[in-house]
Symmetry: C2
């Protein structure tokens, strides 16, 4: 069970407020405080009973034993710096950021005791945003990646692991570099591919292309409709792994061009079968694990 | 109304059998004959009452006034050649092929009177295949592109237009080159992008990437699970427009790389907003037109 008697959620938006709702749904008896730059966000989270109390500064950290940072990636450095003034030996800190090398670098640079910080990436989300879209079961059955470091405090690691397990998440551990490479390939590259498809159609400037576009384009580009500032933040924080993933993608395009040039339908079919089979196998593994 | 008293469907699979079911649903009184290389396909279509009669050769064309070619793109040339022996002045021919320059080239090369051939692309389909998946309303409300040529017989064009309108389709006309450029951008490039994403993950060989992959990758790569031989056929037939679309896509990647290098989150956000807005506007236009 979670040891913390008071828990502070910094940024009670979709993810932060869902942590609050989820903990209350499973009977967490401690106090939950929400800290937000925007009063309206925290008020909405309190209305939904995701948090018990609203604060506009980090003073509640003094009496908290656990803090969950749910701010945009670009705000981590400033948030950690502001938290530092209220840090104390009994405080465990974690986060929900989509990239881990940048967050850990910010933690090392700004927190007095980075060993009490445990980097987490609970892989849950939604097209929607804000505490209004929060759900008690948002994290249920989803994967959560922890990136403990050599000097991470074992008790802090245990508390953070318990937090996500309490919310029903399936835990995995990775190095921050492996995490960032993996999310660049599996999440940021697909987002980029979707945006690039729309940008290619825009650049072509052919009305006919939009006229014939159908469900295929719609599904393939769904990610291009996700929140631009949030996505820009993620791309920026993970730009080096994304650059490498784009390089691998360009190599794949070069190989497809070779197949087009060779003009051998059987070889092209085998290439498409290889991709279809890999996708189906992944979907089958995913089905099994949930 | 459709003038033909007998209609021959060549290849009564998903699309062909859906034409039969759709026409019967709106009270078409003529006879519908299905021609298939595979006896089992035609028998299944007859069991479903999509066709009245099964034939294994093209003799029924003699007594037909309309023929709809629903074979894979790679089989058009041989199909037209076999049809030529039974062609006659009262026969109108159309097709459902996904590319139009290749089909028109095959028609010009193999049909005795290409002016009685009207190239069509009814933009309907499904993940499924075969007459078992056919539906009377498969074409309802979907776009259908006609590519009439300078010498196309006006009566033939009228009959084919009536056919698709009877099935509830929204008609558009384009040149075959514009059609093939448009489908390369809006359909074949998204399919390629999906396959390339899976191939990139395969080539990376990182288990972590598959482990963190979620609904984003799933949606973006849905097209990678579509039928490989059919897709290879389409890619092969439309390889030159697809090459050009891939070139435009590579230019878009180069522009994204420039944005990553410039390291300006505001500029990156504007780029993502441009794509999101273009996609939302397309979806809104699409909503209005159906």
């Amino acid at each position: 069970v979670i040891q913390a008697r008071q828990l502070t959620i910094i940024g009670p938006g979709l993810l932060g407020a869902s942590v609050g709702l989820g903990l209350k749904a499973v009977g967490y008896a401690g106090r939950i405080v929400g800290v937000s730059r925007r009063r309206s966000t925290a008020e909405r989270a309190r209305q939904r009973a995701a948090i018990d109390d609203v604060a506009e500064d980090f003073a509640p950290l003094r009496d908290s034993q656990l803090a969950i940072v749910c701010v945009p990636l670009g705000a981590f450095r400033a948030t950690f710096t502001a938290m530092a003034k209220h840090d104390h030996d009994a405080l465990v800190i974690t986060d929900v950021g989509s990239t881990k090398q940048s967050v850990l670098a910010d933690a090392r640079a700004a927190l007095p005791a980075p060993r009490r910080f445990v980097a987490s990436h609970p892989m849950a989300g939604s097209e929607q945003q804000g505490p209004g879209a929060a759900k008690a079961d948002l994290f249920q059955g989803k994967p959560c990646i922890l990136c403990p470091q050599a000097d991470t405090d074992p008790a802090a690691l245990g508390e953070v692991e318990t937090l996500w397990q309490t919310l029903g998440m399936a835990m995995t551990r990775m190095s921050p570099a492996a995490h960032d490479r993996a999310t660049a390939l599996a999440s940021h590259l697909p987002h980029a591919a979707a945006v690039l498809l729309i940008q290619t159609l825009l650049a072509a400037g052919e009305d006919e292309a939009w006229a014939v576009a159908s469900t295929g384009l719609c599904d393939t580009t769904r990610l291009a409709s996700s929140n631009p500032p949030m996505r820009a933040d993620i791309i920026h924080a993970n730009r080096e792994p994304l650059r490498q993933a784009l390089g691998a993608y360009e190599q794949a395009i070069a190989r497809l061009r070779t197949l087009l040039d060779r003009d051998d339908p059987a070889e092209l079919t085998a290439y498409l079968e290889q991709a279809r089979d890999a996708r189906q196998q992944w979907l089958a593994r995913r089905e099994q694990s949930t």
